[in-house]
Assembly symmetry: D2
Homo-oligomer: 289 residues x 4
Amino acid sequence: MSSVTLVVRCKDRTGLVAALSDFVFRYDGNVLEADQYSDTEIAEGGEHGAFFMRIRWDITNFSLDRSGIEAALSVLSQRFDLDYTLSYDDEQPRVALFCSSTPHCVYDLLLRQEMGEFLGRIVVIISNHEKMREVAEHFSIPFEHVPVTAENKNEAEERQQAILKEHRVNLVVLARYMQVLSPSFVRSWRGQIINIHHSFLPAFAGARPYHQARMRGVKIIGATAHYVTEELDEGPIIEQDVAHVSHHHGVADLVRIGRDLERQVLSRAVRLHLERRLVIDGNRTIVFR
Amino acid sequence: MSSVTLVVRCKDRTGLVAALSDFVFRYDGNVLEADQYSDTEIAEGGEHGAFFMRIRWDITNFSLDRSGIEAALSVLSQRFDLDYTLSYDDEQPRVALFCSSTPHCVYDLLLRQEMGEFLGRIVVIISNHEKMREVAEHFSIPFEHVPVTAENKNEAEERQQAILKEHRVNLVVLARYMQVLSPSFVRSWRGQIINIHHSFLPAFAGARPYHQARMRGVKIIGATAHYVTEELDEGPIIEQDVAHVSHHHGVADLVRIGRDLERQVLSRAVRLHLERRLVIDGNRTIVFR
Amino acid sequence: MSSVTLVVRCKDRTGLVAALSDFVFRYDGNVLEADQYSDTEIAEGGEHGAFFMRIRWDITNFSLDRSGIEAALSVLSQRFDLDYTLSYDDEQPRVALFCSSTPHCVYDLLLRQEMGEFLGRIVVIISNHEKMREVAEHFSIPFEHVPVTAENKNEAEERQQAILKEHRVNLVVLARYMQVLSPSFVRSWRGQIINIHHSFLPAFAGARPYHQARMRGVKIIGATAHYVTEELDEGPIIEQDVAHVSHHHGVADLVRIGRDLERQVLSRAVRLHLERRLVIDGNRTIVFR
Amino acid sequence: MSSVTLVVRCKDRTGLVAALSDFVFRYDGNVLEADQYSDTEIAEGGEHGAFFMRIRWDITNFSLDRSGIEAALSVLSQRFDLDYTLSYDDEQPRVALFCSSTPHCVYDLLLRQEMGEFLGRIVVIISNHEKMREVAEHFSIPFEHVPVTAENKNEAEERQQAILKEHRVNLVVLARYMQVLSPSFVRSWRGQIINIHHSFLPAFAGARPYHQARMRGVKIIGATAHYVTEELDEGPIIEQDVAHVSHHHGVADLVRIGRDLERQVLSRAVRLHLERRLVIDGNRTIVFR
């Protein structure tokens, strides 16, 4: 079975669900998943709020070919002023992992790919440490060592951009990558970089969150996966999870417990992105489960 | 704003989402919520599986009146062989609470009603103990004391049925009601009785689940809200939740911790039913969140 | 069975566990619970860190009477420079609830007392709203209406202090009390005021945390019970819990979901305090489970 | 720092905590952790119940050598009729992993060892599939392929026993090993085999638990780590965890979500065993956290 996923965003108005589902039906598509969300809170301003819809259908017997679909959608998008993305499930997104020397998130993502959990494909691993090369090789993924220093940061990012281009990457995953990307790098990948922060944002943003957590004496720690924006740790949150801790847990314990949260949360976020279940709405995300 | 909720169930086929959303649109309804589910697993048999849809729309400017909606839907339902329920949000379901002498679930439901959490209205409390009368009176809900013994069980159920009829009840909630209802009673309220069982079903069905849990040495206990069927504790599960426990927790502790689970789980299940988010599919429930 | 609970805090050194358990044994006490904690992290400074111990024993056959116990403990405390509290389980702490107009936490605490979950006794309810009087009366608890305005704040607090004194209160629980207590009031009840904050501290301290959470687009909300200090929302955290939320949840939903967290977390914190399981260590709490 | 952990089990009586902590103190040991548990519920029979204690102390300056400790403990054990185990933290338990073809639990345990989470050491991997050899080699762990069929089961187990003996193994971890071990094999490793079952026991014991869960329509799935006994899936439970699921999740989704539970729960259980935090009490476990 071959399927396509359409994710739409526009100003709310009547007839949207009808028009989109009718489009699928008229050309003999069978809806596999359909979910919509109207942001009525913003709408309280009087005029309608934002409308979001994700619709996935079987195109095995669809009477439009891909160019026909594009054409038909461009008509629809003009009529309803749609902002949309269309993705064919047989066109797998190409993913790059950025990492430093902590391996748990990298192992986790690679193992999930090996076990067939992902729609996408991890095509390259970029690290500022040589250490991760053997992990990449074990999973037969190309590895690129790009050292980063205060001095060579620009050259390093040019090198990273070249690698991403060469591998035709669609999504960058920062799997505990301990370098801060420059605003220009981030802008060039808006909505396409996912980071895992090892705290329950907005609590403990910035450095050494587990030390901060220990100092504050919190009874729960967390991890947060978010899209990267120019403001560090301020991007739209995709997924979060937490674990209960106690006074018995020193910083080393929090780090250990946190590792389990980090890999779980990052992997879930990547999976949601690859299945086109995420829409960025200002500084929030709409998540179609 | 006035709205209506349509919940549909039928054999899956193409055009259902289009037809239903077009129906809403053609008569100037604005979709507030729409969610659908196609059971593709059962469909693996080759022919299509079951299709479920919940759609809620604003009828403030709807160009059909209620009889017009009924007429239009009957046409649709013949065309697509639909099994559907239609509910106007201004027609609040009328709820009866059955309870014995444990008050925590009753307090919880009454307090939530007082705080406006429910779409429905608790109209009567029926108990086999006098003890709960003062709770009912505190919240100004009619209270009916119906003692139940092995001897008078039939008469007691006739009395209960009469009370339910008198109060035009649509939903019966067993809020820790310690009597087993007869199969005939259950049949007469199919899909309209919600019970809270104080274990993580299917584990520890039957009597004294916390004692069973303590004996087995489980590290997690749970509670389960389900629709009542003729088979005790075997009905479609609506909602479940759990809590971690340890060897430190004796049966009394499990009972105490379990009370918090019971009221949370039961209240969530009742809320889902009252918002028409539940569809019974054989021995499972579809939950439109 | 009558029992006593000793909670000790001192500089760590060898022999403490032996000395304390030997004291219980020598006078024919049977240890019911014993737990200790040595803060080895702080100890990394070279010299020993802090030592904490909670020991509860059966005094049915104890060969020292209460004055004898006091005498023996004063000797021990001089020898080891102990900071300790001794509590007889038959001397129930006397609790005052402060509340405004939101009833869910008050109902929760009163119901738990009625169901025998607490070691302590709620002896008075103080509110700046008349509204809560009927709840107090339903549970037969004295109710005091103390209106608070910017002008009468000092007089109001004098009135509150007088009421607390009159009822010989040992613990003040702020059950969604929407007024800020003055530093002098807080100082006079150091370590004896528990507040529930409706966010996952340190995230969203201050006003309208659910609005803040909605704005930030977090995927999890929380509640935090803490001891009150002069710094608003900065006191030692006792207990926290969280719930998963989504873009579907508007502020009203977050408030509703949050209410369940607030009452659970506050009640657990109060219970821990009443069972003498809490020790304040700087800005953290040691929790003996 | 070198430390030793003593885990004691005996009939409850007065003076046990005093005697054990005094023993540590008298020979200049400093208590690092001490926790005890008296099973008062069983004690309700009138006579005392079971007493359990775990005490860990720094032996850097301990005035008894290892043989001296053994001698002193044998005296104590006679006096109090103690059942005890003594473990020096520098004597790492030697662990064997049994697995079939599903790699996630094996990767998880090996990665945790690599990241220093475990006190023990995984010294050999035994599998009935060749497939796992490369994983073992990547982490530089000896790998033994022992095919198992209905016919060769006895020979296979003899081979496995020989490998375990050769590697001086103390703990066998069944990391999704899909063969059932014979009663005689299990007896020879009583309390030294940990298995992960992919359901929330006692629910869905036996084969294909995720299919059973899907059929029953549960809203939560779980995983259970337990000691292996002659009765399949009936051994003492060590650790459990759960995840919320919905009607959207087909069997394949439950399997995927379950994998995350399995590796988390199994790893936690192994860690607890290696830190000597577990005591088997009939069919339950006492877990000293």
